[in-house]
């Protein structure tokens, strides 16, 4: 590995030699259309990420405000007050759900991008679970 001055090339970073050649060829195809597609991909991914990230944060803040200001926090569920149960366990399933949803949507956005440019996405890693 070289020192810090060198930025890893595309080939070093992500592709085998053959793949890099294909990648370079595809880059030449239609630069205007390509740039356009990349921009809209980035915009779509950012919108999705902001929606879920900011949404989660806002939901957490509002929920805990509700628990603090109203009597809701004192309601007990199997003997545990909501002001403990919600932050203690309640947010975790929401986090998992958001992660699962994000992964699906983000991959769909990428497939759409590949569709527009007529590219084949590399099949998922062979060791990928399930």
């Amino acid at each position: 590995m070289r020192g810090p001055q060198a930025i890893p090339t595309v080939a070093e970073a992500l592709l085998t030699r053959g793949q890099a050649a294909d990648h370079a060829r595809s880059a030449g195809a239609d630069s205007d259309q390509r740039a356009q597609a990349v921009r809209s991909l980035i915009r779509a991914q950012l919108r999705l990420a902001l929606l879920l990230g900011v949404g989660f944060f806002t939901a957490v803040v509002l929920t805990s405000l509700l628990l603090v200001t109203t009597g809701l926090g004192a309601i007990t569920l199997w003997g545990v007050p909501l002001s403990w149960a919600v932050p203690g366990v309640g947010f975790f399933p929401v986090l998992l759900g958001l992660a699962w949803y994000y992964r699906r949507r983000a991959e769909a956005n990428e497939r759409l991008w590949a569709e527009v440019l007529g590219l084949d996405l590399r099949s998922p890693a062979p060791q990928a679970p399930r």
Binding site: M1, G3, P4, I7, P8, V10, E12, A13, L14, L15, Q19, D22, R25, A29, A35, V38, L41, I42, L46, L48, G53, F56, F57, V60, V61, S64, V68, W78, G79, V80, P81, S83, W84, P87, G88, V89, F91, F92, L95, L96, L98, A99, W100, Y102, R103, A106, E107, E110, W113, A114, G118, L119, D120, R122, S123, P124, A125, Q127, A128, P129
Partner: protein
């Protein structure tokens, strides 16, 4: 030597032996192998490894301690730690993997091509790593002295030696395997005691627990005087911001993305990881609540505090002996102590690997020799600092590091990935303002009043994430927008590389 001390020392020795065995010289020899395990680590393994590395002293001992001492405030730590990885997944996982950079400074160079920015990032990353190692060593010290009866310096030295051996002989490859195993060790080490303790306190018999109602009050009178709801609300919010934004600046966590085969796999890894973290964090939460039941009365807590036997962070180490007698207590205490030691070892080795990677690339021209030199430096400095600093609550100390990375690194990383208009000048000032403001506020806060819970304005210094993270973002954006510099000319090309999937081939017919 008591039976408890014997079993604890045996458990700690076993954990160290397993770690050494997993880390013994393997197949990796070339520098590339050494650094990133050749990028051939599958997602489930990677997720276990990240979890193993991430669940530190703060999670293992600190969370339950905070819940015991400060009630619901402590519950926000697991939520924040887990939500931090949601932010990583949403904004960083795939782009960072696709950037092909190995360390945060590498990424900064890719984005800005600026030697100044690189140097500055190196300083911030190394500082964060060092600060993060200190509480791990401190945890090792209190865990071994509270249960094993060893002098305070034994724990940190043991951790340093084991970690150095593993890192120096195996590099990242063996560390990845060792880390993955550590997660499951930690999970078991808390799960088994939790189940037995719950059985013993009669949890399964009656789900209504009237006599434990004291556990649900906001603060325990003997341990925490303030019952102010709004203060607690702003405190909790600040912790949440720090942990959510700080995770994406943790050097030892980000390094793990490079061991994913591609961006899609990086996302998969993080999704898995959220599940693993959730599984784990249920346990300290439950143990913290049980600790409140056991020590919930003012007299019980007062008696313990009077003997000097109860620091928050040793609470769950003391829990088995409060609930059980004899051999059962010894064995369960040993299990928890062994698990805690796994936490110190894994987090420290992850941090040492990433800090030494950064140090060796920056100062020792990226050779294997430089990596080893970097590793020595990475652990020696915290050892010295740790022996000189006062004792902070573990989770509090770790939250301070998160606040630092949230303010110093998160704005530059996030905007660097998503905003083509970011300039090197903007990044420089954002990072400088974030690092200085968060460090200065927290040091000042420590001087004025120790502990994570303070009254009124002092709280804004003790947990400053609520204002210094937005401040760093604002400075980064404003300087980029109105400063004298233009965005780097290659910004578009970099953005394309970060955000487009790895492509195999053109489709036939085009």
């Amino acid at each position: 030597m008591t039976g408890e001390q014997l079993t604890v020392l045996a458990a700690v020795a076993l954990v160290c032996a397993v770690t050494l065995l997993l880390g013994s010289p393997g197949f990796s020899r070339s520098t590339g192998d050494f650094f990133v395990a050749s990028r051939r680590v599958p997602p489930w393994m990677n997720a276990s490894a990240i979890a193993g590395e991430f669940l530190s002293a703060a999670s293992f001992l600190g969370v339950a301690g905070l819940i015991l001492a400060h009630g619901t405030y402590g519950l926000w730590f697991p939520v924040g730690y887990t939500a931090g990885f949601l932010i990583v997944l949403l904004f960083m996982a795939a782009p960072l993997r696709r950037s092909g950079a190995y360390t945060i400074p590498d990424f900064v160079v890719l984005r800005f091509r600026s030697a100044t920015m690189r140097r500055m990032t190196v300083i911030v990353v190394v500082a964060a790593g060092w600060l993060y190692i200190v509480p791990q060593l401190h945890g090792a010290s209190i865990a071994l002295s509270a249960t094993g009866g060893a002098p305070g310096w034994v724990g940190p030295m043991l951790v340093a030696l084991v970690v150095l051996f593993v890192v120096l002989t195996g590099g990242m490859r063996s560390v990845t395997l060792a880390q993955a195993v550590q997660y499951w060790i930690k999970l078991t080490a808390l799960l088994v005691p939790t189940v037995f303790i719950l059985l013993q306190v009669g949890f399964w018999d009656r789900l209504e627990l009237p006599e434990f109602n004291g556990a649900w009050s906001a603060g325990l009178a003997a341990l925490d005087g303030s019952g102010d709801q709004w203060g607690e609300f702003s405190r909790s919010l600040s912790v949440l911001v720090a942990l959510m934004m700080g995770t994406l600046g943790l050097p030892h966590v980000l390094v793990r993305f490079y061991t994913n085969p591609d961006g899609v796999a990086a996302r998969r890894t993080i999704t898995f990881l959220l599940g693993l973290l959730m599984l784990f964090y249920l346990l300290p939460v439950v143990l913290g609540v049980v600790a409140r039941m056991v020590w919930g009365t003012t007299t019980a807590a007062g008696a313990l505090a009077g003997t000097g036997g109860l620091s928050h962070d040793t609470a769950i180490l003391r829990l088995p002996s409060a609930v059980f007698d004899g051999l059962a207590s010894d064995v369960l205490t040993a299990l928890i102590a062994g698990g805690a030691f796994a936490a110190f070892l894994s987090t420290t080795s992850g941090l040492v690997v990433s800090v030494s990677g950064v140090l060796s690339q920056e100062f020792f021209s990226g050779t294997v020799r430089g990596f080893r030199l970097g590793a020595l430096l990475a652990i020696a400095v915290p050892l010295v600092v740790g022996s000189a600093t006062s004792e902070l609550a573990l989770a509090g100390a770790v939250a301070m590091v998160f606040t630092f990375t949230a303010a110093a690194l998160a704005p530059v990383m996030l905007l660097g990935v998503w905003w083509r208009g970011l300039t090197a000048q903007g990044a420089f000032w954002g990072m400088a303002v974030g690092a200085v403001s968060s460090l200065a506020a927290q040091v000042l806060g420590l001087v004025l009043g120790e502990g994570p819970v303070q009254d009124g304005p002092l709280q804004l210094l003790v947990s400053p994430a609520l204002w210094c993270v937005p401040l760093a973002f604002a400075v980064t954006v404003l300087v980029s927008r109105f400063g004298s510099e233009q965005p780097p000319s290659h910004a578009d090309a970099v953005m394309e590389r970060l955000h487009t999937p790895e492509v195999a081939a053109l489709r036939p017919g085009r």
